[in-house]
């Protein structure tokens, strides 16, 4: 049977990808950010899974306002890095795992979560920046990836509670797949940031660190945090953090092993947060 071995949480700031792509990673501004992911790259090499179930959001790239799916699961063979207006990022094509993705879709929809099935889409920085910070700049990504896009652009976005219980349904689905696959689940986006209006630039370091503490120790209680707390305390785009609860909900009920924790301000307009949790 397949099993979820670990979860990874990380911001997916586009400027981090651009810094890497343009050879600026060693500059004083970016060096502390990439240093924070050095242990992660080592861990990733030693713990490469067969498949990453990658929870992220699309940023007006694959989905315009013509269609706004709340939860969309990628069931395709592969996904091209998107042209977001500056040309596609120079990163490898993302190879999917259609069999596992279809299995998860079947199981999770039967558990009352209404997923949209996507058989063709490009993937933007929300998906490729996490792969870059965890894997560096390889010729090919080291494993297959199932993209799972969550609407956090148009309100109302799904509640933290719904994301957390969806994570549990994903765990059940993975554990019923009849092949000995090692699966990681990644939750991306955040941490505190606001990109719009006169309040743009909001960062809340104490709140972010309390979120990380509670995500590790008491995700059940954290899942009840209402949207308005994210908006007021972590900025309008800080709401992306509900996606981390999907990954956390997919972890075992036992306390996880904290492999790595990192936090840094700023990356462009955003606070960077990162965790690696292993199932014990």
């Amino acid at each position: 049977m397949a099993k979820i071995t670990a979860s990874v949480y990380t911001s997916h700031v586009p400027a981090i990808g651009a810094a890497l792509d343009n050879g600026k990673a060693a500059e004083p501004y970016w060096q502390p950010v990439f240093k924070g992911y050095e242990p992660s790259k080592v861990w990733m090499k030693e713990n490469t899974p067969d498949v990453i179930f990658l929870v992220y959001n699309d940023h007006a790239t694959a989905f315009s306002l013509d269609m706004i799916p709340t939860f969309a699961i990628g069931c395709a063979e592969e996904y091209q890095p998107a042209d977001e207006g500056w040309g596609p990022r120079p990163v490898p094509v993302v190879k999917g795992h259609p069999e596992l993705a279809a299995h998860i879709a079947q199981s999770v929809i039967q558990d009352d979560f209404d997923l949209t099935i996507v058989n063709k889409m490009d993937v933007d920085h929300g998906l490729t920046v996490p792969l870059s910070v965890m894997c560096g700049q390889p010729q090919a990504w080291p494993c297959q990836v199932i993209p799972f896009a969550v609407n956090v652009v148009q309100y109302p976005v799904p509640s933290g509670r719904r994301c957390y219980t969806l994570g549990r349904a994903i765990r059940k689905a993975v554990e019923s797949f009849d092949a000995p696959l090692k699966v990681q689940i990644w939750g991306t986006g955040g941490m505190s940031h606001q990109l719009q209006g006169p309040r743009a630039g909001l960062i809340n370091q104490p709140w972010d660190n309390a979120f990380l503490d509670q995500l590790i120790a008491d995700p059940e209680q954290l899942s009840y945090k209402p949207h308005i707390d994210y908006v007021r305390e972590a900025g309008s785009e800080g709401i992306e953090l509900v996606m981390w609860l999907i990954a956390r909900g997919a972890m075992s009920e036992r306390a996880p092993k904290v492999v790595h924790r990192f936090y840094h301000v700023p990356a462009s307009n955003t606070a960077v947060g990162h965790l690696i949790l292993e199932n014990t």
Partner: protein, 129 residues
Amino acid sequence: MALDKPYQDVPGTTIFDAEQSRKGYHLNQFCMSLMKAENRQRFKANERAYLDEWPMTEEQKQAVLARDLNRCIASGGNIYFLAKIGATDGKSFQYMAASMTGMTQDEYAQMMLQGGRSPEGNRYRGEQK
């Protein structure tokens, strides 16, 4: 019955909800069209003529022409879509963010380096800054 929108008392913030999305549909789809190079060229060659191909309101068109992102947001724009106008202009995201705050790009970048805008005094409308 009015829907519960507790986010309306957050200062300097417009939440892009279903109502804003309805108002801003054509404005945001115009922005989306700028992901294609040929559309960017046509827009740059004659901005007004290109905008007139879209059933946007006059206020939305004026806000785009003035590159006033706060006005764009007030009339239904979403920042991830509006960012495509900035990309067409060759401006960084940080330039666009600064333009909405009344700060210069340098002042804004400096604020971010110093830890960003504090939530203190910025949680509720009417709080002292």
